[in-house]
Symmetry: C2
Subunit: 251 residues, 2 copies
């Protein structure tokens, strides 16, 4: 079995199929259609198991059955299978989150606790970045060395906040990043203070008003890890510390 196939089977398992189900489904697409024997011959699924597995796939709407002797199976098209799985997924998601939204408690008083949260994973950090940027009402400082950390949603949010009257300041030593914002109205571009050690493993820094901050580093198994805080005294102090060190360096 090829590595590609193993990867595909893994993916199907993530989607909720068993490995047998994945193998039978793939085999049927190789064959266009076939009997339990045909399938067993080109997979390591025992023939006696094919029948029940196929039945389960039929229930999921991934194949069709010809009642004949021998029984013949036919996969639905890739497009139809995708659409079927997608709609099942959406239906389950609706069921699941409907309840969560109902019991969700309203956050009272905008994050009054002294909390510093950790977020692991590039995508998660992207999301939280947008989140914090969106809450800014007066000023934003956004810094990064790497242009790829400026995703379209982040760029959009920065521009949108700038348009809303927020003073947006992008800090980067990299031309690629600087050019990205050259054309955006209301965004000022700065270089980082010379005294800052431009650590290879540094990621991004986000400051929103005087009480929202996110700081990320690259490294570890997750690629990027960030800490953030919003509305806490801790955040305010951290921000003051960071900005004070800049002030001093300037003088």
């Amino acid at each position: 079995m090829s590595g590609d196939e193993t990867a595909a089977i893994d993916a199907f398992e993530q989607l909720g199929l068993t490995s047998y189900e994945a193998k039978v489904f793939i085999a049927l697409h190789r064959l266009s259609a076939g009997t339990a024997r045909d399938i067993a011959d080109i997979t390591d699924v025992p023939r006696s198991q094919v029948y029940s597995v196929a039945e389960s796939l039929e229930d999921r709407g991934l194949l069709e059955v010809q009642q004949s002797n021998p029984i013949r199976y036919r996969p639905v098209s890739v497009e139809e299978a995708r659409e079927t799985l997608r709609s099942q997924f959406e239906r389950e998601q609706e069921r699941a989150f409907e309840y969560v939204a109902a019991v969700e408690r309203e956050p009272e008083g905008e994050e009054t606790r002294e909390d510093i949260w950790t977020v692991r994973g590039r995508d998660r950090v992207d999301d939280r970045t947008v989140d914090i940027l969106s809450q800014a009402e007066q000023r934003i400082v956004f810094g990064t060395r790497l242009p790829e950390f400026v995703t379209p949603p982040i760029e959009r949010t920065l521009a949108e906040r700038a348009a809303a009257g927020v003073s947006v300041s992008v800090v980067s030593g990299r031309d690629a990043v600087r050019e990205q914002f050259a054309a955006v109205d209301g965004v000022t571009i700065e270089r980082p203070p010379a005294h800052r050690t431009d650590d290879q493993r540094s990621g991004r820094i986000v400051i929103a008003d005087d009480d929202g901050i996110l700081l990320s580093v690259r490294g570890g198994a997750d690629g990027e890890t960030a800490i953030w805080s919003s509305g806490s005294l801790f955040a305010s102090v951290l921000i003051q510390l960071i900005e004070a060190s800049d002030e001093l360096a300037v003088e």
Copy 2:
């Protein structure tokens, strides 16, 4: 625990979470944020298990961690969670079906085998109906007693085929169905021949050209079950038989 909650947990399990993961996630939304003890107090998840379960949820991007003593957990918003799960789902689906599409064999010569396939489940029958209708190039006969069997995609396909010059004939004794197509150009509406027994359990009939046919009945655990065939001699014969009986009745 409420029935609603049980249902929500089931849904989360369908989405790939374990029941503990679902319970912790829901509990965290109830609490807005909390420690392992907080969570264990309002669920039947043992406190000692919360840590590993939360770690797994963090990997999935469904909660964030505050490294403190005690450790505090915070769920991501419902919107963010949905989006995260959705993108994971899409990514897995891409991985899975990319491979299937690559190994898929081209159907040689348009269904040359003498196959009659069985399709179970309302949605699957809808899909197959559209499929067969789309293949018609000269004439279509579409019949049903029930207006709900005329879904928007089916209605669209009928109209589209009619516009493409296909002679489309909708057969129904029900006014609700008949009115649905009164305004569609190129669609003629007929009543079923009087001699046809209008069985309560009959579903729909689709005839496309002289070689595509689908016939469904209602009943059984799946609600609706259909048989269909396309491009086969069997299909042609079946169609001729059905239409011959009509011709005779007219004379």
